[in-house]
Symmetry: C2
Subunit: 238 residues, 2 copies
DNA sequence: CGAATTAGTCACAATGTGCGACAAAAGTCA
DNA sequence: TGACTTTTGTCGCACATTGTGACTAATTCG
């Protein structure tokens, strides 16, 4: 003991095979959907896979994730963020020992259009059968959405730039999986000064036309609030 | 266009060199400190480094991080969590192209004892001069602490199992960098039913002895709360 | 035109938070 | 011993935030 380094040996880097795996999520109807592609062995059971690739010499991980998401979607995702990294022997479509997982978010309009030749949007509830490694990435991506909803404007990335407040509320209800009260939702939203009205209205079939808004956070007083003990979940996370 | 994969090529894994870098944080006096070790070239300016190592064939990343933290500290950290992964050309002590960053947390008692032959606790405000890659890891670790304070019992990991409420409040004040009101702090803490009193008191010099508590989250009603728009920061993170 | 439907707001009750005041239990020191 | 200091721990009130149902507004449908 008293050894400076792990187990008395000097630290040394090792070589590994690495892939970037991207879970691309978008709202579809009343729930989230994930974009999967047919695997290498088409027709085989459990052959769906998340879009993935290796990293190129000049790539950062963010570069690679953006490239993979663009290639799968045909356009850039509205948001990208890392959701974890794993290195183990679980199966991966490319046989990578190490996977860097990313979450990509895009508006619901994407789930209405076809995605390439072998892409498909699968509802999260349908539990697409992925290889174990990619299953871990998808689970972590879903967790990341949950943990970031209240801390970042992630919910807005599931919508186009201009949206109605009812659409925004529907996204929050989808992500949080519970009904919200319209008046409370709007009161809190406006108090936070996160959206600005556009001089534009949209009529969606019957009913009064809804005003369009855009995400436009205003400089707001950084009030010192209480410690939020009520948000603490028993497990300290991953 | 219409291509199924990135740039029309089939996806393929690549090889990279990888290190696990661990930012070990603990309270020291009134601020956080990070554990650094003297680098390979002792005495050289900017030679401090975070504990790091490669991954072993049977290691998961969590295994490696735990091993590295134990070796540096002499005991297991109270908490470990991934804070990000980077793959770029920034300098790293081991020359790794890819780094998996971890945050390790341990109680303040650690910062009073010596740490191995060439370890030292450096206050975060002192900005230890690390190589660029490890600087990124440390910054991400600090961000992770901030983002998890309200979502997980992370603050409790900076304390021993038994603690006084004043100690807990001091940790929160240190992490949030602001004074908290004692009565409000305790009211919210007890309302969340996160701690249980021990039948033990501790006298710290003068003043009334403080009762000791332990972290013991009780099953509490999962009240449906409002969407917390006020916590949303303008940037969607990382 | 009236019913149905969706958007948007209001008022009030219930709950939560900031904050000062104060009581309780110990040590310090004349 | 007894006043003074220091720290723990609680109470109560003013004020802010949130939950909820009721209400008005603007549009389509038949």
């Amino acid at each position: 003991m008293g050894e400076r380094r792990a187990s008395g040996t000097r630290p040394a880097v090792r070589t590994t095979t690495v892939a970037v795996d991207v879970a691309i999520l978008a709202p579809m109807g009343t729930e989230l959907a994930v974009l999967v592609q047919a695997g290498g062995r088409a027709g085989a059971a459990g052959s769906a896979e998340l879009p993935w690739d290796g990293i190129r010499p000049s790539d950062t991980l963010d570069d690679a994730a953006d490239r993979i998401a663009r290639a799968a979607l045909g356009f850039a995702p509205a948001w990208l963020g890392q959701c974890g990294t794993w290195s183990d022997t679980r199966r991966h479509p490319g046989g990578a020992r190490t996977s860097v997982g990313y979450l990509a978010v895009c508006p619901g309009s994407a789930t209405g259009a076809p995605v390439g030749e072998n892409g498909a949007w699968v509802p999260m509830s349908a539990q697409p059968s992925l290889m174990p490694r990619q299953r871990a990435v998808l689970d972590a991506a879903a967790m990341l959405v949950q943990s970031r909803i209240d801390q970042s404007p992630l919910a807005f990335r599931f919508l186009p730039a201009a949206f109605t407040l009812s659409e925004l509320q529907a996204i929050y209800e989808l992500l949080l999986d519970r009904k919200l009260h319209k008046a409370s939702f709007r009161r809190a939203l406006h108090a936070a000064r996160l959206v600005a009205p556009l001089d534009e209205w949209r009529s969606e079939g019957r009913g009064r036309p809804a005003q369009l808004f855009q995400y436009a956070p205003a400089r707001r007083r950084s009030v010192r609030r209480a410690v939020r003990f009520d948000l603490i979940a028993p497990t300290p996370g991953r």
